[in-house]
């Protein structure tokens, strides 16, 4: 007797996501049902100064195969088990993004499976929703490259407030470097500032710049840095003051968006989400507006491959695939330029 043909050879389908927009190279694997099977990464740490895009890209290309291998091994999957390859298509640093995109194209072509280009910022929101269970939040996304307040309305994530110049994480990082703090593996510069700030008491007067729904941080950075060199303020007090001013500004803008949209959930994500002081400020405004406050767990709040994999699943399930000839990276791909068909 002939065996019946196997149906549904694979019980579950999987998407592998590649994140490489800045200093982290991450690979995550998500099932189509939203189970994260692996979330591996390796970070480029500059010897001095900020991220050098070329050096970051060089780092990514050197460790890509190792991270890929780690992720597949950790998930207990073989390349053939994958159904979709997703990658961070933007926004971000060109050389870094291109490295990830190249790996993604190679994998998708070799395995003959579809490729899905994912917007990095949207991926942050989607993994945050998956991991915290919120459904329709006002999101504050604060990292080294991004500072924005977004909420979903009519098919897209709309930007209700953003920085007019530098990002919050960038502001803290540059200040930390000017203060002579060093980036160490496992201890981001922002965490070093936070630790010092917790020992600060005296509020140094700095510029507070909220313009309508938007904010500006470059003047704050310049002013805080100037105090560093001229006055002999305690570094602890300066770190404290910088945090208080910068966080108050983003909190005010988030509160405006919350009052305006009347949503019932606040989601905090991005690398700066790890900061306890920022968390406490946002939980206060959430409480005052009867909204639920959620922080994305740090593994999924910093740049990570799992968020790209999961958003790739959402997009793919809604018929979105990226043909090879449209898979070029988009360095300035705004969140409000992307249709989001998987909501409603």
């Amino acid at each position: 007797m002939k065996k019946p043909p196997k149906q549904n050879q694979k019980e579950e389908s999987y998407c592998l996501g590649i994140e490489s927009s800045a200093d982290d190279f991450g690979i995550g694997i998500s099932s189509f049902k939203g189970k994260i099977l692996a979330n591996k990464y390796d970070s480029y740490i500059p010897a001095e100064g900020g991220i050098h895009p070329r050096e970051a890209a060089r780092h990514h290309s050197e460790i890509a195969d190792k991270v890929l291998h780690d992720a597949l091994t950790f998930a207990g999957l073989k390349p053939d088990d994958l159904s979709v390859i997703a990658f961070s298509q933007g926004p971000g640093l060109g050389p870094s993004l291109r490295t990830g995109a190249t790996v993604a194209r190679a994998l998708a072509s070799y395995l003959h499976i579809p490729l899905v280009g994912v917007n990095h910022s949207i991926a942050h929101i989607e993994i945050g929703k998956l991991k915290t269970g919120v459904t329709d939040p006002v999101t504050l996304y604060v990292s080294g490259g991004n500072t924005m307040v977004t909420a979903f309305d009519a098919g897209r994530y709309r930007v209700f407030g953003e920085t007019l110049d530098i990002a919050l994480g960038n502001c803290l990082d540059v200040f930390a470097r000017e203060a002579g703090l060093k980036h160490q593996k496992g201890v981001p510069l922002g965490a070093a500032v936070e630790r010092l700030a917790s020992e600060g008491k005296n509020l140094v007067s700095l510029p507070y710049v909220v313009k309508g729904m938007d904010l500006s941080l470059s003047g704050l950075l310049t002013s805080a840095t100037a105090q560093l060199h001229v006055n002999n303020c305690r570094l602890e007090d300066l770190c404290y003051s910088l945090q208080e001013y910068a966080f108050s500004m983003v909190t005010e803008v988030t509160e405006r968006a919350l009052a305006h949209t009347e949503k019932r959930e606040v989601l905090l994500t991005g690398g700066v989400a790890a900061n306890k002081r920022l968390q406490s400020m946002l939980s206060i405004i959430a409480e005052e507006h009867d909204a639920q406050f959620n922080v994305v767990p740090i593994e999924f709040a910093t740049d990570n491959g799992a968020m790209i994999a999961w958003t790739g699943v959402l997009a793919y399930k809604h018929g979105l695939v990226t043909p090879l000839d449209e898979s070029f990276v988009k360095l300035r791909w705004r969140v409000d330029k992307v249709d989001v068909p998987w909501i409603q």
Partner: protein, 219 residues
């Protein structure tokens, strides 16, 4: 003097609570900037009293510039409150998406003219959203909420002001924002003259390029 009666909360904004009340037989709005627990007390007090003092000053200046704003009756710095005229009418935010294209164009042109008058007079509103504009029954548009405003004659400040107007239209009236902003520019140019207005539009482009993720930004 400061007997405000029948105070009822009608709007809890992000920054302030607005109460409808009765003051010597007049219907008034009492705007109270509530203390914000999230920021240090000293910073909070400074921000709230600064905005409470400056807002009425700017509203007065706006009247001089022929831009309708509510009359100010009373200011209390220690409780960060302003008592002002209650303007009857409809919020532009509520009506802009529902009205006819012609009416929309007319309203936006008028808004542009008013912004032009503010700027010509050296005033920056600081929060030009359609929630901060009220269309009165006699067809005047009142500007409210000057809390983030300033006196400034620089093209930079004017550019940011108008850029915020554009951003507000994009986020709240995304279906019509382009035609709306075009009409705003039309009204704005008619007050300031094409040459001056063009400098501000150029500045808007420059400001947008400064943002992180914008197509137009130079590499």
């Amino acid at each position: 003097m400061d007997t405000v009666t029948e105070k009822t909360l009608f709007k809890k904004g992000a920054e302030a609570s607005l109460y409808a009340a009765n003051w010597h037989g007049r219907k008034v709005v009492v705007k109270i900037r509530i203390p914000k627990r999230y920021r240090p007390e000293a910073m909070d007090k400074q921000i709230r009293s600064y905005r409470t003092v400056h807002e009425p000053q700017l509203m007065h200046e706006a009247k001089v510039a022929e831009v309708p704003t509510p009359l100010i009756y009373m200011v209390n710095i220690s409780e960060a409150s302003i008592t002002m005229e209650f303007v009857e009418g409809q919020q532009i935010k509520q009506l802009l998406n529902r009205t006819t294209p012609d009416k929309r164009k007319e309203i936006c042109t008028l808004i542009g003219e008013l912004v032009g008058k503010l700027h010509r007079h050296g005033l920056i509103h600081g929060d030009l959203t359609t929630s901060n504009m009220i269309l009165s029954p006699e067809g005047k548009i009142f500007f409210v909420d000057f809390g983030l405003g300033e006196k400034n004659v620089e093209v930079e400040a004017q550019g940011v002001d108008l850029h915020l107007m554009k951003r507000a239209l994009q986020s709240t009236h995304y279906l019509f924002w382009e035609e709306c902003f075009k009409a705003v520019q039309y009204g704005y140019s008619s007050v300031l003259g094409a040459e001056t207005a063009e400098k501000v539009y150029e500045k808007i482009k420059e400001i947008e390029r400064r943002g992180r993720y914008v197509e137009e930004r130079k590499q």
